[in-house]
């Protein structure tokens, strides 16, 4: 591949930023890379790996400190306008005008790029056909679901025919169904000959690309065909069965803490383990007892974690310390929801949902965008009155219950919701006092949590300026100050990278072992594996409830014996939607 045939050629590109706090961040530390034309290339890596910076440099929005960068054969540092005329870039938060309709947004971007009317007559039908937004032409963009907004953003970037498309995390906050649709569009574009570079923190997405570039801390860790990268983990992957009575997540947490193990995640009631080396594996043991293990084929994610582990070392394991591995679920019901209904005008957001959660359980609410998860959550936390039905949290309805009942629960909202202007310490002090902690007990509790969540070094930093992952930690720390019995977590891991999510779940496992009941909503279907039981909601209705194994069994067909959690989820939601359509017709 010569340089002129490449979509992008980077040679020793460097870029540093200075934060408000004066801290110097090396976003790209000498990146050299060639991306071929006509291919789908994924940039993967944790938060702060430099993915976004690389895309912004390629689109000529930022100038590198040093090194050279050619995009579609043009030096983007010297001729950014020429490059921008020929490529399209969709940033993480695409600038849609929420009050304008779908059609008006599209027209606006066509006007901005000077697309002639004749061309529009050709392009519009194709875009509407591709995105299936044709039915919603008149709907204001602000009223679209997260997935549809992303599709509209993509359509707006495609009003003219670019030679190269740059997509920055297009599927963050998008549910599995919309995610799949979005990817189908991208695959079709590539098939039609477009070059696409997409950054993502979903590893399954990277696995389906032609090439993957793994980044970490501004450097490239590995590059190649996903199956080649996956092959590097050959012989390292096992499915390990937990001893009787131990939840898979507890075993996962224990195994993740062992020195020779690079990664561990729960999967179908067992634990998927990646060893650091494939050489002569000794049998798996826990507390002197050997565990039943089965060697399995590696996935892309296993290889990613293996590569990553070699760099990041052991610093990531703190959150998994002190996990004993016992289940602490007992039969007492702490949360009970019966026939819950919530209407907004004519729209039924929650439609006769019932479920129970036992003390010490980790319970998951799953569903696509707009399924009613957050609405159910708000009603449980007493933030929204129910239209009908009953709900009890620790025996009380929190909407009317006194301060004492609320003392027993912790709540972490979907969006970071602490005081951004106040420092980490001030936030923690406020919430500690809010829950009645005073004097030395307050000091000790704050100190302990700051240590546990590694927030010490940020004590004096306004919380709004914390790096992404640490905001989430602070929010969780603030919710745990008063040692709540019940913890509500609303999409706590949205936008978090694979490593941050493992750390997060390590903490949740630890809490559940201490008898804390945890209720979570999530977009990441594999996270359902950490739950004792889950409920799947769509359009406000309860579609399925049970253990992760039960839910998988729902979706099993003769053709597909062991579907992933995500496939099971999509199958269940689609089956219901087909049924509704037939019923409605």
């Amino acid at each position: 591949m010569s340089a002129s045939e490449a979509a992008l050629v980077a040679t020793d590109v460097r870029k540093t930023f200075v934060r408000n706090t004066g801290e110097v961040v090396e976003a790209l530390a000498g990146v050299s890379l060639q991306v071929e034309r006509g291919a789908l290339t994924a940039l993967v890596g944790p938060d702060g790996a430099g993915k976004t910076t690389l895309l912004r440099l390629a689109s000529g929005l930022v100038v590198p400190d040093s090194g050279s960068l050619d995009v579609i054969g043009i030096d983007v540092t010297r001729f950014p306008q020429q490059v921008q005329d020929k490529i399209s870039y969709m940033p993480q938060r695409f600038g849609l005008y929420e009050d304008l309709s779908v059609q008006e947004n599209l027209d606006l971007y066509a006007d901005l790029h000077g697309v002639p009317q004749v061309e529009r007559n050709e392009v519009y039908p194709r875009l509407f056909g591709m995105t299936q937004l044709g039915r919603f032409k008149e709907r204001p963009a602000g009223k679209l679901s997260g997935g549809m907004k992303q599709k509209l953003g993509l359509a707006c970037t495609l009003v003219r025919s670019p030679q190269l498309l740059l997509l920055d995390e297009p599927t963050v906050g998008v549910d599995p169904l919309s995610r799949r649709e979005l990817w189908e569009i991208v695959f079709q574009l590539v098939k039609d000959g477009l070059s696409v570079i997409v950054s993502t923190s979903y590893l399954d997405e990277a696995e389906r690309c032609e090439r993957a570039v793994l980044m970490h801390a501004g450097r490239i860790l590995a590059e190649g065909r996903p199956n080649e990268i996956t092959a590097s983990a050959k012989g390292c992957c096992f499915l390990v069965r937990a001893p009787d009575g131990m939840p898979a997540r507890s075993l996962q947490a224990r195994l993740f803490g062992l020195p020779d193990i690079a990664d561990a995640v729960p999967e179908a009631g067992r634990v998927r383990v990646v060893r650091r080396s494939s050489a002569a594996p000794p049998p798996f043991e826990l507390d002197g007892k050997s565990l039943e293990a089965e060697a399995v084929e590696p996935r892309f994610e296993d290889a990613f974690m293996l590569l990553f582990d070699a760099i990041a070392g052991d610093q990531r394991r703190e959150s998994h310390a002190g996990i004993a591995g016992q289940a602490s679920v007992n039969e007492e019901t702490v949360v009970e929801v019966r026939d819950l209904v919530r209407m907004f005008g004519n729209f039924t957001a929650v439609d006769h949902v019932s479920f129970k959660v036992r003390r010490g359980e980790v319970y998951g609410l799953l569903g696509p965008n707009g399924a009613g998860k957050s609405t159910t959550f708000k009603m449980l936390c007493g933030l929204l009155p129910a239209t009908s039905g009953t709900l009890h949290v620790a025996g009380e309805n929190l909407l009317t219950a006194g301060a004492k009942a609320r003392q027993r629960l912790g709540y972490v909202a979907q969006k970071f919701s602490l005081y951004g202007q106040l420092t980490v310490d001030e936030n923690l002090e406020f919430f500690a006092s809010a829950y009645g902690l005073r004097g030395s007990s307050r000091r000790e509790r704050i100190k302990a949590l700051k240590e546990q969540f590694e927030l010490d070094r940020f004590s004096e930093l306004p919380s709004g300026q914390l790096p992404g992952g640490f905001k989430q930690r602070l929010a969780l720390a603030a919710a745990l100050l008063h040692q709540p019995e019940i913890l509500f977590l609303d999409e706590a891991t949205t936008g978090a990278d694979p490593l941050a999510r493992r750390q997060f779940w390590g903490r949740i496992t630890g809490l559940s072992e201490r008898g804390v009941t945890v209720i979570v909503t999530t977009h990441f279907m594999e996270e359902a594996e950490y739950c004792d039981r889950i409920i799947i909601l769509d359009a406000g209705k309860n579609l399925a409830e049970g253990t992760p194994l039960d839910i998988r069994a729902h979706a099993e067909t003769d053709r597909d014996k062991a579907p992933t959690m995500e496939q099971a989820f999509i199958a269940i939601v689609e089956k219901q939607r087909r049924k509704d359509k037939e019923g409605g017709a």
């Binding site: 629960l409 970071f416 005081y419 951004g420 106040l422 001030e426 919430f431 006092s433």
Partner: protein, 372 residues
């Protein structure tokens, strides 16, 4: 009880931290009120000292010339031009070259001497009714004085009507004297209502309000935790304006400081109650801002700050019943300038108590029961 008190203190501490942490926002709470007060004190005045006018002297007598010199001798009227016909004056008025046209009719001297109707026509530009009204008043007084004076000098008897006007409490009828004390209420209401409404709306927008509702705070505690910091800010602001009035403009203070303070405290409670109520209707900062403006403008126009409430149509007078600023202006003016006693101000104060007693509990209830 103690736990509740401690929780309220926690909220107040947090609120003050958020408001006062940033030096810029700290300064923006005290400097603008003082600046506004200075600007209003100097700029917003109805007192006139140079009124450009055009003269049409059709009589051309010694008496008419004497009248003109009287007018100009007052130091208020400045002749822009002298015209031969009334018709020419129209353009001058239209183009705002002059505010008044003084027409001394033919036979002015003869009629005056004969005891008949001596006519002087004064035409004013009605587009700016305030300025014109004041200018007309001045002109009338001067002309009437002159006529009486002239007739008595000529030894003419007859019903010489002496119109004496004198203004009480503001002997020089300086606008500043009535304006500045009213500003104590006006400016602090603008600031505290916005501050309160925006602070709740910001918490809603950023999601921290949900955190408060999930924590063991009761709606009443949250309400008090929001009201007290705004109250403190309001007290500091009104004191600052009072100091400017007393020591910069040196407007004499006739009443009791205690009565004024009580009145202002009640007023702040009512204004903050309104701010809380508006914030409970708004779901984000933009809505809160618009709602504040929707209420602030009528509150200011219908407060008696610019024009007396008694002159308004009856329907609007009823509407002013819920306007906290109306009572505040009444209290500050009367206590400050007239030295009104506490008992005289009781009706106004009770009205403020009533407004606070309705808006505060309603907004506390709305915190939790607001739909969506």
């Amino acid at each position: 009880m103690l736990a509740s008190l401690l929780r309220i203190l926690t909220l107040i501490h947090k609120e003050l931290l958020v408001i006062l942490k940033d030096p810029k926002s700290r300064a923006s709470l005290v400097l603008p009120p003082i600046l506004q007060c200075l600007i209003f004190g100097y700029a917003a005045t109805y007192d006139l000292n140079t009124v450009p006018y055009a003269l049409v002297d059709l009589d051309r007598s010694a008496t008419s010339r004497e009248l003109v010199s009287k007018l100009e001798g007052s130091g208020i009227f400045r002749r822009q031009t002298t015209l031969a016909q009334i018709g020419q004056a129209v353009t001058l008025l239209n183009t705002q070259k002059v505010v008044l046209v003084v027409v001394i009719e033919r036979d002015f001297e003869r009629q005056l001497a004969g005891g008949g109707k001596a006519a002087v026509q004064v035409i004013a530009d009605g587009r700016n009714s305030n300025t014109s009204g004041v200018a007309l008043g001045y002109a009338n007084t001067i002309i009437a004085d002159f006529a009486n004076d002239w007739r008595s000098r000529q030894g003419l008897s007859g019903p010489v009507v002496e119109v004496t006007s004198r203004a009480w409490f503001n002997p020089q009828l300086e606008t500043r004297w009535t304006m500045i004390p009213s500003l104590i209420g006006t400016i602090t209401m603008m600031m505290t209502m916005m501050l309160t409404a925006m602070s709740v709306a910001r918490e809603r927008e950023e999601g921290t309000f949900d955190q408060l509702l999930v924590a063991p705070f009761t709606p009443t505690e949250i309400m008090i935790g929001k009201a007290v910091p705004s109250m403190i800010v309001g007290i500091v602001q009104s004191s600052a304006i009072l100091i400017v009035a007393l020591f910069w403009f040196q407007i004499p203070f006739a009443g009791s400081l205690a009565t004024l303070s009580l009145g202002l405290a009640l007023f702040l409670a009512a204004a903050i109650g309104f701010g809380l109520f508006l914030s409970s209707l708004a779901s984000n900062m933009q809505q809160a801002m618009i709602l504040c403006f929707v209420f602030l403008m009528p509150f200011m126009l219908l407060s008696g700050l610019m024009s007396p409430v008694d002159n308004m149509p009856e329907v609007l007078q009823y509407a002013t019943v819920i306007n906290p600023l109306k009572y505040a202006i009444s209290i500050t003016r009367r206590v400050y300038l007239e030295g009104a006693h506490l008992t005289e101000m009781l009706p106004d104060m009770l009205a403020l108590v009533a407004i606070a007693a309705v808006t505060m509990p309603v907004s506390a209830w709305m915190f939790r029961h607001r739909l969506n």
